[in-house]
Amino acid sequence: MRLDTLETGRKVRVVSINKGTGAEQRLLEMGIVPGVEVELLAKHPLKGPVIVKLNNTRIALGRQLANSIEVE
């Protein structure tokens, strides 16, 4: 499952991050690494950004980036 396909409010675990968007490193350093639990807080319409909650931080991600995150 990709992060951007989830419904709002779901809590999931990050499995892997697909390479190719050029932003993997920034995801990693913000703490979005395999194994962490994230909650999808919001999805902006028209393929806008998504907001995820990770521990006690909120991180806004572009839709394409969210699509590169494999979760379960």
């Binding site: 995801l27 350093e29 962490v36 991180i59 991600l61």
Partner: protein, 577 residues
């Protein structure tokens, strides 16, 4: 002795720095407030410590300019590293700790915002962390001052090196690239780096216990509302609209009382000049120019600058400002910008000079260039807004036409420029928690931004007012009448008004001074003020642009500015009845 303050973005480094040095560096509630190193001194006992407040980084291997600055600073080893951590997000913050520990320097950890962590129901055992890492760890709050004394005591005693980590030289911390992964630096070499994350998670788990809370803090509730896609966007747009209404009302309401106060003073100045100076051209010029040079800044520019700095400081400190970048990400994407560009563009409504520096939070040079160009040419700063309002009011010019032209140029320019940014960087931004604005932070900012009025704007406007009055009285403008037919055909404005447009080369908000002294029809005033507002960056912005992006970029921006201004003049001349 030299110490560096380091940490993730938006954990409160600058706040800690201010606390320790007594300085008043700007503090905001969004990642990327400090993009340069702040320097200060701290005296503990008989030790004088030079403190460097470094810009925030998530990792030493980020590959960002900020990370490069930090690695550079570590190569000339400081005597002490003070890492500021966000207690609420220990896990991620500890990754940087583990990276820094490889430098094997004396280091202390400040678990900042510990008061907020407690409010959120977290219990922190700093002793455990201290034992695990072999470093002094202090629960800390730059806001309340908790932990400051403990830190000072430790600094007086001296900080030992940790014996817990293997010594790894800095060279190996830096990336050598690897063939195991496409993304290069150490961070992505799973074998090396994900281990750090596991270790950090383990440490954070040992240190933090979560107590069940029965109630959600109202700020968290507000945050949940504002982070909702549709409702949040509506709320944010309403808030922006409300801010503009407040700004305009404030300018309107304050003009009366301020003029009432100034009128007698000006009368006096004017009379004194006539009295003291020998009759003649000089007395004639000064007796008109000085009062004008005082009235306009005080009644028009000052209220606008004051209100804008207050509103901006509130947006920055509450954590609302970065929310706009999420809500407007879709829109900015059309223009080849990522959502973060909203932050410098909004800051530009206050003053464009710091806004140009703030473009550093953008991911690439192309985006920075687009944003700086938009800032320089279209976005009206507080001073410009104030003076624009006065010209519109005096000549009964069309606000709709001026605003419409601004929006049209903004859209047109960004669409054209958006094409140069072929590489669409992915949007990723940490949203700061909402908080109640801290009045002290607000006061520092408003004070600093507002003193610019007295140190820069007032003297400049006064001098220019005298210069402009001299030009008018001397009759030089009549010499330009030859240009009249040309400017009338092209832009529908008299040649004198065109001089005002050319004056923007010196300082944009000075140009309307000349307009105020002319007799213009509403139509002429509308075109002239629009051409003035859409034109060139002011001198301070030019200097900053050279510093940040180079002379060539500035040249392009100036060229585009003139072009935009002339095109808008011609277009309005054709469109307006």
């Amino acid at each position: 002795m030299k110490a560096i303050i380091v940490g993730n973005p938006n954990v409160g480094k600058s706040y800690v720095f201010n606390r320790l040095t007594g300085q008043e560096v700007f503090v905001s509630n969004y990642p990327g407030t400090s993009v340069e190193i702040n320097r200060g001194f701290l005296t503990v006992g008989n030790k004088s410590i030079e403190l460097l407040d470094m810009p925030g980084v998530y990792s030493l291997n980020s590959g960002t300019p900020e990370a490069a600055m930090l690695v550079e600073a570590l190569k000339e080893p400081p005597d002490l590293i003070i890492q500021v951590l966000d207690t609420v997000n220990l896990e991620r913050n500890l990754v940087l700790t583990l990276e820094l520990m490889k430098a094997n320097l004396p280091m202390v950890l400040l678990l900042n915002q510990v008061d907020r962590a407690r409010e959120m129901g977290l219990r922190i055992d700093s002793q455990v962390l201290s034992r695990e890492l072999g470093l002094p760890v202090f629960p800390f709050s730059a806001l309340t001052g908790e932990g400051v004394l403990d830190l000072l005591e430790q600094l007086a005693k001296g900080v030992p090196r940790s014996k817990k980590v293997q010594v790894v030289s800095l060279e190996t911390v830096e990336c050598q690239g690897c063939d195991r992964c496409a993304c290069g630096p150490v961070l992505s070499c799973e074998g090396v780096n994900l281990k750090l994350f596991d270790q950090a998670r383990l440490l954070a788990g040992k240190t933090t216990t979560r107590i069940e809370r029965t109630q959600m803090h109202w700020l968290e509730k507000a945050q949940n509302w504002i982070d909702q896609p549709i409702l949040g966007t509506v709320l944010l747009l309403l808030l922006a609209y409300l801010s503009f209404v407040i700004l305009l009302q404030f300018i309107n309401l304050s003009e009366g009382p301020i003029s009432a106060l100034l009128d007698p003073v000006n009368q006096l100045i004017s009379e004194a000049i006539v009295e003291l100076l020998p009759a003649g051209i000089i007395a004639q010029v000064l007796s008109k120019a000085v009062p004008e040079g005082i009235v306009i800044p005080f009644t028009i520019v000052m209220p606008a600058m004051l209100m804008v700095s207050i509103l901006m400081a509130l947006m920055e400190d509450s954590g609302i400002l970065p929310r706009y970048s999420v809500a407007l990400e879709r829109v900015s994407r059309i223009f080849g910008l990522s959502g973060q560009a909203i932050i410098p563009l909004t800051l530009g409504l206050g003053c464009r000079t710091p806004a140009v520096v703030a473009t550093r939070i953008l991911p690439n040079t192309a985006q920075r260039f687009i944003t700086v160009a938009l800032l320089s040419i279209v976005v009206p700063c507080a001073a410009t807004l104030g003076i624009m309002a006065s010209v519109i009011a005096k000549f009964n010019a069309s606000l709709v036409a001026v605003a419409g032209a601004l929006v049209a140029v903004f859209l047109g320019l960004s669409l054209v420029l958006g094409r140069i940014n072929t590489q669409q960087e992915e949007f990723i931004y940490e949203l700061p928690p909402l908080r109640i604005p801290n009045w002290h932070n607000i006061a520092i900012k408003v004070k600093a931004r507002f003193t610019g009025f007295f140190t820069e704007i007032l003297p400049l406007l006064l001098v220019m007012s005298i210069a402009i009055r001299t030009i008018i009285e001397s009759g030089v403008l009549q010499l330009l009448d030859g240009l009249g037919p040309i400017t009338r055909v092209l832009f529908g404005i008299p040649s004198e008004a065109f001089v005002a447009v050319l004056l923007t080369v010196f300082q944009r908000y000075l140009a309307p001074l000349l307009l105020l002294n002319l007799t213009l029809t509403p139509r002429e005033a509308t075109i002239a003020i629009t051409m003035v507002v859409i034109s060139l960056p002011c001198l301070p912005v030019m200097v900053m642009t050279i510093r940040e992006l180079g002379l060539k970029a500035l040249g392009k921006i100036i060229g585009m500015g003139f072009l935009a201004s002339f095109l808008v003049g011609i277009a309005l001349n054709l469109i307006l009845p």
